[in-house]
């Protein structure tokens, strides 16, 4: 079998080649100028997209309404993000039937060494307040089983890296 013709050896890396590196840098800068012009528009359009979401039944003074699960999650996250020494990992709404609120699971990581029970209590209280505001008189009442706070991990440094 005749071996394929050997290609001339290319440079080890274009990074080591000043000319190619200069051209690559020029390529980066050239496109970046255009990006500056359009980036705000691209971001705002992306954020206008809506995520698929369950509808959860709530009770307004005028009667029953439905609230997006995403709205509940966002407001609950906002509320519990004020608890120190905690990073929120996940918020999951549980429903019964088609749209009846049944409970909440909040998964967090906590700073190493901080007492976990007071943190869980604080999170549960804040979640209760937000749920009451958003859903009206909800059932079942908020308990350790209907609002479950799960500590998944611990972190030590400020950034949790």
């Amino acid at each position: 079998m005749i071996p394929p013709p050997k290609l001339p050896e290319p440079p080890a890396s274009p990074r080591e080649d000043a000319m190619l590196e200069q051209a690559a840098q020029s390529l980066r800068e050239h496109v970046d100028q255009r990006w500056v012009e359009i980036s705000d528009r691209v971001l705002s359009r992306a954020l206008r997209a809506t995520r698929t979401s369950l509808a959860v039944q709530a009770r307004a003074p005028s009667g029953p309404v439905h609230i997006s699960e995403q709205v509940l999650i966002t407001y609950i996250r906002d509320a519990i993000s004020t608890v120190p020494d905690v990073k929120i990992q996940d918020v999951v709404i549980t429903t019964e039937g088609l749209d009846t609120y049944a409970g909440l699971t909040i998964t967090i990581s906590a700073r190493f060494g901080v007492p976990l029970l007071p943190i869980a209590d604080a999170i549960r209280a804040l979640a209760n307040t937000r749920l009451s505001e958003l859903l009206g008189p909800i059932a079942p009442p908020v308990t350790v089983t209907t609002v479950h706070v799960h500590v998944q991990d611990v972190f030590q440094d400020d950034r949790g890296d």
Binding site: E9, P14, L20, A23, V31, V42, L43, T50, D90
Partner: protein, 193 residues
């Protein structure tokens, strides 16, 4: 927007790592998504422009689609790969779709006529421009996987493993693709040495 530095959260998003930003954005934090955008979207756009032969209009559409998908699907992101890799994977798919949709068109001048660079010396600027245009032309002749591999490696600094993850192949294949891409570019750009 609902949260971020300005409201209750005491930690500025600029200090938060990518994985935590992704979790926050998945839970609806628009400030976190904006920070992800500022960190990674320019590179996504660069990739799209060069994969679409300098067509900035198509590249904008592809990146718009990629970022919209990223915002919508972030709740499904589990952190199995780096956030940057996940974003590039979405971008690569959107770019590929755009390439399949496009009609073959003759390159137009406006595609390459973007604002001049920061160089003040007209001669240096002209040389810079010629060099860039030559590299764009050489890149345009590469098969798409070689071009994608080269762009992700040399312009964006991704590792072989990250490029393989982005392009849904193996690091060994990427190594071969890069070798061939570098060989072709070395030949095509030889006159500039």
């Amino acid at each position: 927007m609902h949260s971020g530095k300005g409201e209750d959260n005491p930690e500025p998003v600029s200090r938060v790592n990518d994985q935590d930003l992704a979790r926050r954005a998945a839970l609806g934090d628009r400030f976190a998504f904006a920070e992800i955008f500022h960190r990674h979207a320019a590179a996504m756009f660069r990739y799209a422009v060069h994969m679409l032969d300098g067509d900035v209009g198509q590249a904008e559409d592809a990146v718009q689609e990629a970022l919209t998908q990223a915002w919508v699907h972030l709740p499904r992101f589990r952190g199995d790969s780096a956030l940057q890799t996940w974003l590039f994977r979405i971008t690569a798919n959107c770019v590929l779709s755009a390439r399949r949709r496009r009609r073959p068109i003759v390159g137009e001048d406006w595609v390459l006529t973007l604002p001049a660079g920061p160089d003040t010396d007209p001669v240096a600027r002209a040389q810079h421009e010629e060099l860039r245009v030559a590299l764009e032309a050489a890149l345009g002749e590469l098969p798409w996987r070689q071009r994608a591999s080269w762009l992700l490696r040399e312009l964006e600094g991704l590792s072989y493993e990250e490029i393989a993850d982005t392009l849904n192949t193996s690091p060994t294949v990427i190594r071969g693709q890069l070798h061939r891409a570098r060989g072709t570019l070395a030949v095509r750009m030889a006159q500039w040495r």
